[in-house]
Symmetry: C2
Subunit: 461 residues, 2 copies
């Protein structure tokens, strides 16, 4: 989606993209049984790149490469892999090696891997872990799925509120148990409740004698452990955060969420939105098996079959009218198609507004009202266009008038339904991205066919 | 989209959400002319929250609040506002106050505000800026839109490669021109080419005498200034980055991109994807004026009218057939609807794979092949369902057979087109999210109607 295809491509080559050559070379080496060469080819790769490479290999080559790597497989690769691919790799590795890998990961990554396992596999992996690691992961699993508690890193740099910059620096230099990467030092009171955060860059710029409390950021937002990850992501975006403290029910500092995990959440939630709008399961990606994809598509198609049958029933009410005037059968899909397209447009704007928390009681009715007005005005424009077309095509001015009226009505209904249906679904606790489009198709098809054929029956025959 | 509506709501209240009460109170105060009270109500708000509040107010109340705030308006609010709302606020403030505000913003935020202005307004604002600030922004504007050059912060902490941790700390304590927030220290050679990055947390944990080069991260990725922002975001996600060095054509360190800007980019790009898939302009949101929304919707509806007319033309080829058997008119929308739904499913999976850079020459044909197989298998299932339905409804077994064949064909075509069209568009340099769905509707409508009515004409009459 680059405006500069050439530089964009060149840049992509320099960035995460592995380039085709390496993939091809690895495939060739594996195909010809030269495992040593394959291992050499991938020797210098970053684990994120190696995970990408594994995803792209055909299933059998991937299995052979995993076998070749054996115990040398970097545990971080497991955390990076796409879920479908990860499942297969885990199956191949066996639970013993998975447990060994999980033990080496940071808590949040380890949790990521463990939470996707079956209950029995989870138990087996947990039992094989060191006590401390197991306790942390079990605590993580006790939080709701997709909550802040699942996202957070348990290792936090927390120091007493009365410390100075110098004390903090000495502590960090001498203490071995610090997390690998961190961006804020949290000040906590004796009950371990966070009182403020000091970004590392501010620690760096302050003299040693300065009190941390004097340079801390006190208006930070505390994230309760049970907060949904989408709300956490929204907060990070709104406040341009790098990390945020997570607190338990008693207000004690329980962990910290860092923005790199939030970036993953945003990608994940967005993918979900697009997949749900299209009626595809989340696990339905390039790497899913045919039968899984089949199953993921079937339900949605069945629902749409239901709406299509309802539309067919509406048409059947006017069978006699159509028999007398076959032009109606030719034109009626236009009325339905325009309504469907317009309702999806209104839906997209409403879904975005809901995701961005932009809808309030104050502007909800204004929004719906605007969509109806826009539908009416576009309706008039398209009524003229399509009316003229019908008139010229079938030499029947009254037919043009009827289709014009039907189009205008249907575009208004599309604006109303396209904005009101997702808002209502949201209010009833249903994900508007999942359920809206089937409703909308049903509404615009039924209204389109009924108004067009009904008006035709009343006015033309 | 929370699984826990109550806690989710409570949490949202505690996070970015202002709560309705404050908004209502401000509206009431403004409506009754109590400007002082309004100003007091919003006194303690974070600028991000105040920007949210401004967005949510009805246009006239918003204008009154901006007027009330006057010179006291925090410049950061301008950078946070939604584009449509920002445009109106800028119009109200006048270019003098905008220039004053821009002068106080960090370069990347300032660029964000200036790049959205008309060319003449840009010139006027730039002329009113201090020389140094103006030069930086003009340089920023010289980079392609949505490129790394536009995103980057120009203030970078760069030190010579031979420095020690202690030297870096002393430099940061004593030097006043450091950026407000930073996360890495970059090591540069005498030609100012980056040689490595040291995360602040690693500086913190090292003794003063340690060489920075000994603790630096040398395999960092360099981002060329002209890289598309979507590719930059992909890199941040893949490597879990917090900041990344941007280099000019000569490989010199030109600036740094931090992850908070990347979070905005990801939201923005994702919104664009959803809006494009639905055929809605980016500027078409809750705050757009009716006429702008109307215009943003019209083109897409016109394109879909085109595809609907093509479909109508195909139907008209079989007018005589329909006249003899009205059941065909009743059933034909089912064939088209199923094809359309299935093609959108395949499209969503392909668009996601393209965005994730998962498609390679190796797996492209496999992917398309899988979609055709899934279409065929689902086609068989739905052929049986719909065939039986048609048989029972119209008491005509041959009609059931014909619609079954048509459904199977159309679902296979939907799988083929739904995956191949976006891939081909991408290869031709066209955004697959924008153009695919109109193509797909045309293909599945035409194939659906043609095969169904054609088979009916050949086999049933």
């Amino acid at each position: 989606v680059s405006d500069f295809p050439e530089t964009g491509q060149a840049a992509a080559e320099g960035l995460g993209d592995l380039g085709q050559e390496l993939t091809q070379a690895v495939v060739a080496a594996l195909a010809e049984g030269r495992e040593d060469e394959a291992r050499e080819l991938i020797g210098g790769l970053h684990y994120a790149d190696l995970a990408d490479l594994l995803e792209r290999l055909p299933t059998d080559h991937r299995a052979r490469l995993v076998e070749t790597l054996g115990d040398g497989l970097d545990p971080n690769i497991l955390a990076e892999l796409d879920e479908t691919v990860r499942e297969r790799v885990i199956e191949q590795l066996g639970l013993d090696q998975v447990a060994a890998a999980v033990a080496e990961l940071e808590t949040d990554d380890a949790l990521d891997v463990v939470e996707e396992l079956d209950v029995e596999d989870q138990k087996e992996v947990l039992d094989a872990l060191p006590d401390e690691e197991r306790t942390l992961i079990e605590e993580g699993l006790s939080f709701p799925e997709d909550s802040a508690g699942r996202l957070m890193q348990r290792d936090v740099v927390a120091v007493p509120t009365h410390w100075t910059v110098g004390q903090a620096i000495d502590y960090m230099r001498d203490f071995d148990g610090l997390p690998n990467d961190f961006f804020d030092i949290f000040l906590v009171d004796p009950a371990h409740r966070p009182a403020g955060a000091v970004p590392l860059s501010r620690v760096m710029r302050s003299q040693r004698h300065v009190a941390l409390a004097a340079v801390m950021n006190a208006d930070m937002k505390l994230v309760p452990v049970e907060t949904d990850q989408e709300d956490v992501a929204f907060l990070f975006r709104q406040r341009d955060l790098i990390s945020a403290p997570v607190v338990d029910g008693a207000g004690r500092l329980a962990g910290v969420i860092t923005v790199d995990d939030i970036v993953d959440v945003i990608y994940e939630e967005h993918e979900e939105d697009i997949m749900r709008l299209a009626g595809v399961g989340e696990e339905d990606d390039l790497y899913a098996a045919v039968m899984d994809t089949l199953r993921s598509r079937f339900t949605w198609l069945l629902i749409h079959l239901g709406t299509a049958v309802i539309a067919a029933f509406v048409i059947s009410l006017f069978a006699a009218t159509i028999e007398q005037m076959v032009a109606l059968a030719i034109l009626m899909p236009i009325v339905a198609a325009m309504g469907g397209t317009a309702s999806v447009q209104a839906l997209a704007v409403a879904v975005r507004a809901i995701a961005m928390k932009e809808l309030t009681p104050t502007n909800t009715f204004r929004t719906i009202g605007k969509e109806v007005v826009v539908g009416f005005l576009n309706g008039i424009l398209f009524a003229i266009l399509i009316g003229l077309l019908a008139w010229v095509w079938f030499g029947n001015g009254a037919l043009g008038l009827v289709i014009g009226l039907a189009i205008t009505t249907n575009l208004m209904v599309a604006g109303l339904a396209g904005s009101a249906v997702p808002i209502l679904l949201q209010r009833w606790g249903v994900d508007p991205a999942v359920a809206s489009s089937a409703f909308l198709t049903a509404i615009t098809d039924v209204v389109g066919f009924y108004v067009f054929l009904g008006l035709a029956a009343a006015l033309l025959l």
